[in-house]
Symmetry: C2
Subunit: 579 residues, 2 copies
């Protein structure tokens, strides 16, 4: 027997035993042919792997390609060299902007990377009464998507209230579609901080995985209750890893990326999470196991996830197990050489319909948009003097939470003097041309310097958000983003200081990831220069409109109390000068 | 919230952590509602489980109901009290006798026990040129069965030669049907002693589980190569369990029964295997895990296998973890009380069509059937004197192997004097009325006393086999089985000494299992009284016709060399008196 390829003498990861053994690996066609300490076959090509480590291709089962602001073909070129060979993508953002057409524009792209898909379960993230999105995913769309064998799961179900409602809500009907499907799909959840009876109710509804931030307690409770754990960077604390180790939860754990920003992609994708897990104390064998075998099993991808006869020959060769940067990657039995897969100029033009580049249907900002006129509550007087008790979103230094505060702000001549209080104003321009409305919110602990940021990369509805403390800069940033037909714009003191165009639906770049990364780094730096403090300033600003992230958020319909899912007025109470 | 049932304060198996914790369990309807150290709900019924152990219902994913010579309803009543709540049955014997009609007669029976099914993959076990069976399972039958959602796997693929043949053999086409099915099913294998490149080839063909006898080496090699291990009693040696423990292979292991004889059922079913595993050194938590969670996962039965919210409420309560005899069993949330589910007289009459009771279409034996006339090879002379070199099956004291020996036997007046040599004669009567043929073999180390055994419970084709050393007893035993329309009959010195009727297809009893067990115990004892020495004399005799079990076997077509799958003549060579 002559095989196509033999890798000799590498330290090969033995999945079930979770250890490295010196082995020969034979590949024929797209699959592993055999594995043994010494293989007798002849081969077209022999590679000496003495002293190298050989791992199965990494499998990322919870991630969003749009978080990298790019499209599948460019994403594929970017992550394959990291040894990532399979992902399960939830094209949630494309669905929010374009609906089914957006999802299909991703699924139609041919890639070297194996990309499977989850069905976006919450598009819009809440309901049309709370936010205006471009697309919607209902039962009909779910049923259509389920026909595609690349659909492996329903993506992050998050609406707890609707999920456990005694009424047959949309999410319950969507779950029924998935459960009634001939080919079973997994039901993936998003349930941060859910515990006790509420967690049990969530799981009873059929959703049995969670990728949100975990604690040492939550990993035990969720495992006990039959919930699979997808650990992303923020869950990979020493405490969580110690709990996973102490209770031997590994078979119930997969490592995932969820979101990788374009300017972080240079540092790796799932391999970066593996590296982090090991750095934080996870034994390397367990980290490999949880990024290859357990994710494959969770998604019923029995044809991959280990180096064994008959499995798809996805693997990567590493010099060492500290950096997790492979020296060679094989996808479906073929060496993946980045130089054979270069970015093609204007490639996106052929991958997306022309109309995907003209998707901003709101008007240009005017400086007067940022003047908040406010009546005196009891009398209905305008042009009054006094103060107003307003709801304020307070930026945190870590994560996407905006703490809900209230604050008295002076009112002069009927105008809210938010600038005097060191606050920033946030304005959402409904961008789909459905209502044309503007909504307003106030933010504390945002900028210490004068400036503004505008973006359409604004979860989950991706309306045009602008925040700032200077009407001139705010208008300028807004107009810049409008001109680019989407992206990020930063303005300070009358000048655009940084920008990153995302012309495809206002959320995806048509440029190579390296150029986008440079642009976004600049945007990030300029936002930080304005004094915005957060572990990820891009994500923090982009989730000001995310109505499923606590506590107070702003959609095109107004301020939303996330817990109660109710719209709040900007001004709760007023008091005239005497008060 | 008011639930239906709460079990309080038991030591409840926590599956992922693989340990017992003191917990309350709430059940609503057919499912677990919640689990926690203290549950706040009110309940219709509360049960104090202080000091008791609570385990998920046991799940047996490789077994044959026909091995217990009974039918699904009686089997269900028998095993539920043992805490077995789900099985995956391969109705291989019913298929060999009746084809699809046989499988459906089992699947149509309503049972309290959840019975899923595997598709019999090898019916007949070899090919119609080597044996005559009643039914056949081809592509059309496989496709039809795949439509039923209770079909979870293709059962024990065993024909290695056909499986790896470059031609598109039947088994390869059957596997294609399974792999192309919208709802994926598991491909289960039967590959005793396969190793190295041959094992890899078997796995490459897609078959990735094995339930045959394992060794300390095979469990490691098979796990490394991605093969799931189903360990039955004969694999649960100290050496195998030590290897499983040393390499932490548990997540890749399920405990299974395969075959449980009716007279062994009193001692338990899968609970007996769990008990044995623990006795042989497997930690009790691992044994429970491997008989609940791992089998459920292997068969993609995600709705069961652990005590967790939303799963089917199957559990059993135990006083201790030595005997594995539950004191209470709950199936789908309801207490299973054996007294509510008693055997119904003549029940089988309504469960099977009338023609299933008239299935023996061979003639009565005559004493002259057992006179073996043999020509002198070179000359073709009859009525000659000399000796003949014959192929002989040698009984082993353990297992189903018949060692292939050759032996010179005297020939007098052209008749083979097998009795003089202390041999037994085996005769197979083709029973389906297709050929009406008889075939002959010789057995060494069978009986030391005079007597005969006849049976239609004769794997896999279930033709009528008679073995013995006395033509009178042989004819008597054969006629007794014919009169019963199937079963076991033992005769000695002119008298029937024991019998067990199996009137449904000659393989299944219509009686309560307790009565059948008594009858079969008597048969077993009488066979042992004849001097037959084997760890399971019933199984040893019943596999004389099993052409996939080594080394020399006898079908209705003649002696079969199992390794080469070729038919051998009874007499290989002759020598006249001078030689």
């Amino acid at each position: 027997m002559k095989v196509d390829l033999i890798l000799r003498n590498g330290w090969v990861f033995q999945t079930i035993r979770q250890r490295f053994e010196k082995m020969d690996i034979a590949v024929a066609g797209e699959k592993f042919y055999d594995i043994s300490p010494v293989l007798p076959y002849e081969a077209e090509c022999e590679v000496d792997c003495e002293g190298k480590y050989i791992l199965p291709g990494l499998i990322d089962i919870h991630m969003h390609i749009e978080s990298s602001m790019t499209y599948p073909r460019e994403f594929s070129r970017t992550v394959l060299p990291f040894g990532v060979t399979t992902v399960v993508a939830d094209a949630h953002e494309m669905a929010n902007v374009f609906g089914m057409k957006g999802i299909k524009s991703f699924m139609d792209q041919e890639t070297e990377l194996d990309i499977f898909y989850g069905i976006p379960s919450s598009v819009p993230s809440t309901s049309p009464t709370l936010e205006t999105s471009g697309g919607m995913i209902g039962e009909a769309e779910v049923k259509e998507l389920l026909k595609d064998p690349r659909i492996l799961c329903l993506g992050e179900v998050m609406n707890y209230k609707d999920l456990i409602s005694p009424d047959k809500t949309l999410i319950q009907r969507i779950i029924d579609c998935c459960e009634e499907n001939t080919r079973p799909v997994r039901l993936e959840g998003h349930c941060p901080a859910l515990t006790g009876a509420a967690l049990s109710a969530f799981i009873r509804a059929g959703v049995d995985a969670d990728h949100t931030q975990q604690t040492a307690e939550s990993v035990v409770e969720k495992s006990d209750k039959g919930m699979f754990l997808e650990l992303q960077a923020k869950s990979l604390t020493r405490e969580v890893i110690e709990a996973v180790e102490a209770h031997s939860l590994y078979e119930n754990v997969a490592l995932v990326t969820d979101d990788t920003m374009p300017d972080h992609l240079a540092d790796g994708q799932l391999n970066r999470i593996v590296r982090l897990a090991v750095k934080e104390g996870m034994p390397v064998e367990k980290a490999v196991y949880c990024s290859t075998y357990t994710p494959a099993r969770r998604m019923q991808l029995y044809d991959r996830g280990m180096i064994a006869p008959g499995k798809i020959a996805d693997l990567a060769v590493y010099d060492n197990l500290e950096e997790f940067s492979p020296v060679a990657v094989y996808k479906s039995g073929k060496r993946y050489r980045p130089e054979d897969h270069l970015y093609i100029e204007d490639e996106a033009g052929s991958l997306f319909p022309e109309e995907f580049r003209k998707t901003l249907f709101c008007r240009e900002a005017r400086e007067e948009d940022f003047t908040i006129v406010c009546e005196e509550k009891k009398s209905g007087r305008t042009h009054w003097q006094g103060k107003a008790l307003v709801h304020v979103m307070e930026v945190q230094t870590f994560g996407t939470r905006m703490v809900h505060k209230k604050r008295w702000v002076p009112v002069k001549d009927g105008v809210l003097c938010w600038q005097e209080e060191g606050l920033c104003l946030a304005v959402v321009y409904e961008r789909y041309g459905k209502t044309g409305s503007l909504s307003f919110g106030l933010i504390d602990k945002a900028f210490s310097r004068r400036g503004a940021v505008a973006t359409t990369w604004s979860h989950d509805s991706h309306n045009l958000l602008v925040i700032g403390n200077s009407p001139e800069d705010m208008a300028m940033a807004q107009r810049e983003v409008l001109y680019m037909q989407g992206g990020y714009g930063v303005a300070s003191q009358g000048k655009i200081t940084a920008k990153a165009p995302l012309p495809i639906g206002g959320i995806v770049s048509d440029q190579p990831i390296s150029r986008l990364a440079e642009e976004l780094k600049e945007v990030r730096r300029e936002i930080e220069t304005l004094g915005y403090v957060n572990s990820n300033v891009i994500m923090s600003i982009s989730t000001i409109g995310l109505l499923v992230s606590p506590e107070l958020k702003l959609s095109d319909k107004g301020l939303v109390d996330v817990m109660s899912q109710e719209i709040l007025p900007l001004v709760e109470e007023t008091a005239d000068q005497q008060a």
